[in-house]
Amino acid sequence: MKSVTFQVNAKSVTVDVEPRALLVDVLRDQLGLTGTHVGCDTSQCGCCTVKMNGSAIKSCTTLAVQAEGASIDTIESLANGDQLHPVQKAFSECHGLQCGFCTPGMIMATVELLEQSPIPTTEEIREGLAGNLCRCTGYVNIERAVRSAATALRFEREQAAKKQGESV
């Protein structure tokens, strides 16, 4: 067993883990964060996507010991109380989910994608979500959700800039 300390959703945690333990298992089984899912054992489905130090990673392909000192954000951290994140809202509004099993991973990957490319082209959306599989939707509504979230986030940014302008 090895002791690992890292931040999860802005809280510091210390856990004893086996050296071979995967980050996803520690998040789910030891920290109770079951919003991050496991859909495969070959690093293909992306259900386990979380953010580590700001980048989207597959937590099934990361050892828990690699998270030492890192800051991890999971799906559970995205909403601000009752206030859904624009990406979460867009997935629901555009019916970008059916069974919802892929959804936490899709949403986390989308959050990163829109940080990298705030106004993504279709190619950028497809490329950005290439590591996430959805068995239900056929992806059309997922693409729509990403575009709609991009618009919502841009609007939020503009409003914030306006407000700042007014207060100056």
Binding site: E18, R20, R28, D29, L33, T34, G35, T36, H37, V38, G39, C40, D41, T42, C45, C47, T74, I75, E76, L78, A79, L84, Q88, F91, S92, E93, C94, H95, L97, Q98, C99, G100, F101, C102, T103, P104, I107, L133, C134, R135, C136
Partner: protein, 489 residues
């Protein structure tokens, strides 16, 4: 803003509850050892090494299943075929007894304090196999050089099924002006819902209930199947399926793992959990389709359809599972005339057992396959005889006035307006302007295509729809505050 689905909020915030998300106090974990052979005799299973491994609580083999008096996995109703012959079956045992018949078949399980320890210990089970030649491919399964899989299934032929009138169809083909034939292969696949198969079982002693947490698309079917395997009465089995990560037909009934988790929970008096790895499911889960449909059509001089004929080769896999028998029989034949007036219809299916994963329902279980075959046949005949595919369809559609319409093999279509639906579809696709759009595409060095297909399906099992909602044992004392809500459709 569109309406939010009721379930979305929990699913987009990570608060959904899929089977793997349930954890019960003091639970332990199961891992499954599966056959690496398509066909082999099992000479000996040595579990001593696994039993001594760290964290191991229990190892189960076929002997334990027999001792527990568990039955085999439900193999479906006694479907009848030619000459009233009842389907011959190879029933799937919960764990392989003295023979494995497909790669991925469960041979033994280990229950340990953690999932990784259970999986580690599986590697320590020694199985002595004597590999046998395997039957792969339904078409050659009956050949004399092929081994017979099950004592009760001679030549690996489970059933020869027929529907419609062979004589009427033969006669129509003999006097037809034009004919056309095509072979459709509906390839074997694994349905792969994104949530891997999982089961958590617990015996709730105060209530006398066996609790089974598992993804299912039919709570009542799951309950009935598990009762049939384990002997536990249905009213002592409670199925909990809160969020389900896709079904696609695979989640209709119980698999061996459900029964194994229940038995282990009972033996250890602890909750037992099993969450499959994706890789083991590719070979160990039910497969779908695996059909070959040889279709022929006969036309008169006016291009009216006079007959359709199908010869199907249906792979059941290594064992008959509950839904497997329906695919090659009722589900293929019931709408074999599609949306068309066909005076003579005949289908003959051979249902074969092979050393491959058992075939169960997948997305319509034969119905999309026959719809595809009908439409390909129509298009193929149109192409072969230089007919316009739309006009050819229109000419042969069952007209609105003809409903209710009884097909030549006895299916009643209650209503339909195929012409109007096709009109709308063609308008939406801007079918009329296709040629000019195609010219533009060609000039730009691109390839454009268009196709027409009509889909008629008998939905569900067709007979009596059944929903059941019941609230039982509702009591609010702190000791047993429990609510149970079941629903199946």
């Amino acid at each position: 803003m569109s309406l939010m689905r009721h379930e979305d909020e929990r699913l987009i915030t990570g608060a959904g509850k899929f089977t793997a998300d349930w954890n019960l106090e003091n639970q332990c974990h199961m891992a499954v050892l599966r056959s690496p052979h398509a066909h082999a005799r099992v000479l000996k299973i040595d579990t001593a090494g696994a039993m001594q491994a760290e964290g191991v609580l229990l190892v189960l083999t076929a002997a334990d299943i027999t001792a527990a008096r568990f039955n085999s996995i439900p193999s479906g109703p006694p479907i009848k075929g030619v000459d009233d012959q009842v389907i011959r079956k190879g029933e799937m045992p919960v764990l392989a007894i003295d023979r494995v018949r497909f790669t991925g078949q469960p041979v033994a399980v280990v229950i340990a304090e953690s999932a990784v320890l259970a999986s580690d210990a599986c590697d320590l089970i020694e199985v002595d196999y004597d590999p046998l030649p395997a039957v792969v491919g339904a078409e050659s399964a009956a050949m004399s050089d092929k081994p017979q899989l099950h004592p009760a299934v001679e030549q690996n032929k489970a059933l020869t099924f027929e529907s419609g009138s062979r004589e009427a169809v033969d006669q129509a083909f003999n006097t037809a002006a034009k004919t056309a034939s095509i072979t459709i292969r509906s390839q074997r696949l694994y349905g792969a819902p994104l949530e891997p198969k999982a089961v958590l079982a617990n015996y709730d002693e105060p209530r006398g209930m066996t609790m089974v947490y598992t993804p299912t698309q039919g709570v009542l079917g799951m309950q009935a199947a598990l009762s049939a395997v384990t002997g536990i009465p249905t009213d002592e089995l409670e199925i909990v399926s809160q969020d389900v990560g896709g079904s696609f037909g695979l989640r209709g009934g119980a698999g061996p793992e459900h029964a194994l988790v229940i038995l282990a929970a009972r033996k250890l008096d602890r909750p037992v959990k099993w969450v499959a790895g994706r890789s083991e499911l590719f070979s160990g889960e039910w497969h779908g389709r695996a059909l070959k449909l040889e279709a022929s059509i006969a036309l008169d001089v006016n291009d009216h359809i006079v007959a359709m004929r199908y010869k199907d080769t249906v792979d059941l896999g290594a064992y008959n599972c509950y839904f497997g028998g329906f695919i090659g029989t009722n589900n293929l034949s019931v709408t074999m005339g599609g949306a068309y007036r066909v005076p003579a219809l005949y289908m003959r299916s051979e249902l074969m057992l092979t050393n491959t994963a058992p075939i169960s329902a997948y997305r319509g279980a034969g119905r999309p396959d026959i719809a595809f075959a009908v439409e390909r046949l129509i298009d193929h005949a149109a192409a072969e005889h230089k007919l316009d595919p739309v006009e050819f369809r229109r000419k042969n559609f069952i007209d609105k006035e003809d409903f209710p319409y009884t097909t030549a093999n006895g299916t009643v279509y209650d209503c339909g307006d195929f012409h109007t639906v096709l009109d709308k579809a063609l308008a939406l696709a801007d079918y009329e302007s296709f040629e000019s759009r195609n010219d533009v595409s060609k000039a730009a060095g691109k390839i454009r295509g268009i196709g027409v297909g009509y889909y008629v399906e008998k939905s569900g099992a067709g007979a009596a729809p059944k929903d059941q909602v019941s609230c039982r044992r509702w009591c609010v004392s702190p000791a047993c505050g429990h609510r149970s809500f079941r629903s199946g459709a």
